[in-house]
């Protein structure tokens, strides 16, 4: 198991978990959110290639209202 920071909170994951797998495990539709790892945007097309490491900071963003 590894522990990442998911939206600033500790979150345990199995070893060898990709960003795409995390998004799926959290129940998000792939097109419904945007992702960043360690402060850098990760496009949807690259999520399956990103293997999450111990301590990785993952942020997920969703659309909202705005001014």
């Amino acid at each position: 198991m590894i522990t990442i920071q998911l939206d600033g909170q500790p979150h345990e994951l199995p070893d060898a978990c990709t960003l795409a797998a995390l998004v799926d495990a959290l129940g998000h539709a792939p097109h419904g959110i945007a992702t960043a790892v360690d402060g850098l945007f990760v496009p949807l097309s690259q999520r399956a290639e990103i293997m999450l490491r111990e301590g990785a900071a993952v942020l997920l963003f969703q659309p909202i209202v705005g001014g």
Binding site: F61, Q62, V65, G66, G67
Partner: protein, 271 residues
């Protein structure tokens, strides 16, 4: 140059006729928001992004926006609200482009927590990078002429100077600076963004020659947002038409408007 209230303007290759850009935050319900979008006849609607940390949906607001935008032939303009650095703003802009499927981005980089004043230095860094990455950057900026010029030089197709701090509803706090901006950048597209509280403020902005107005709270926080959206539409159209027609120059003293020549007629008859 002749203008009417239906005259058009452009952002890149996109032609727009409405000069009213509307924000979507803080409405009482998705239906009221959808009705306000329709009443405003806006063609540009702003949206945002938030971290999913706070659980729960958005109560249907985003779907309502998407439906209203489709129904009214409008476009989405995502923002980078909440960003304090160029690096953050650039990353968020990329996420917005993916989520909303548009290269348009309202670039916000705040430099002061109290006033939410844009940081001109970080803004320029972010704008430069985003333009190179193919974004159409709508920079939320101050009314400072020189930093505005730098943003245009960096490839921003327009500027969005504040009228007053975000959400303050104070109107145009520095008409001198705004007039100067208009006069010194006669060919730039200028949109007043933030601080508008009443339709008269929006009309004033248009009378000064600004190309459009972006506002949110003044409609969302009205007792009746839908009629207020309608009121702002009329005010913006009136202000634009007035600018095109040429507002008369103010005079220090009275200037008789009735063309009486020589002695007043009645006084002469009584004598």
């Amino acid at each position: 140059m002749s203008h009417t209230h239906t005259d058009s303007w452009r952002v890149g290759e996109v032609t727009l006729t409405s000069r009213f850009l509307l924000g979507t935050a803080g409405y009482p319900s998705p239906q009221i928001l959808a009705d306000a979008i329709a009443a405003s006849r806006t063609e540009v609607v702003t949206v945002g992004l938030k971290r999913t940390l706070a659980n729960g949906g958005d109560n249907g607001f985003v779907e309502s926006i998407r439906a209203a935008v489709r129904a009214n032939g409008a476009r989405l303009l995502p923002n980078t609200a909440g960003c304090r650095s160029a690096r953050e703003a650039v990353q968020l802009a990329h996420m917005a482009r993916e989520l909303f499927d548009t290269p348009w981005i309202k670039l916000e980089v705040v430099g002061d927590e109290h006033t939410l004043q844009p940081d001109p230095f970080e803004l320029l860094i972010a704008a430069t990078e985003l333009v190179r990455a193919g974004f159409t950057v709508f920079p939320y900026c101050t009314d400072d002429l020189v930093s505005g010029r730098r943003l245009l030089d960096a490839g921003c197709p327009l500027l969005m100077p504040w009228g007053a701090p975000i959400g303050s509803g104070q109107g145009l706090l520095n008409p001198f600076a705004l007039r100067t901006l208009r006069e010194r950048l006669p060919d730039a597209t200028l949109i007043i963004d933030a601080g508008i509280g009443a339709p008269s403020h929006a009309a004033r902005a248009m009378e000064l020659g600004f190309d459009a107005v972006l506002l949110n709270s003044a409609v969302a926080q009205a007792r009746a947002p839908v009629p207020m959206a309608h009121a702002f539409r009329l005010a913006i159209e009136a202000g634009r038409t007035a600018w095109s027609a040429g507002v008369m120059a103010p005079q220090d003293f009275a200037v008789a408007s009735t063309p009486v020549g020589g002695e007043p007629v009645l006084l002469g008859a009584a004598a």
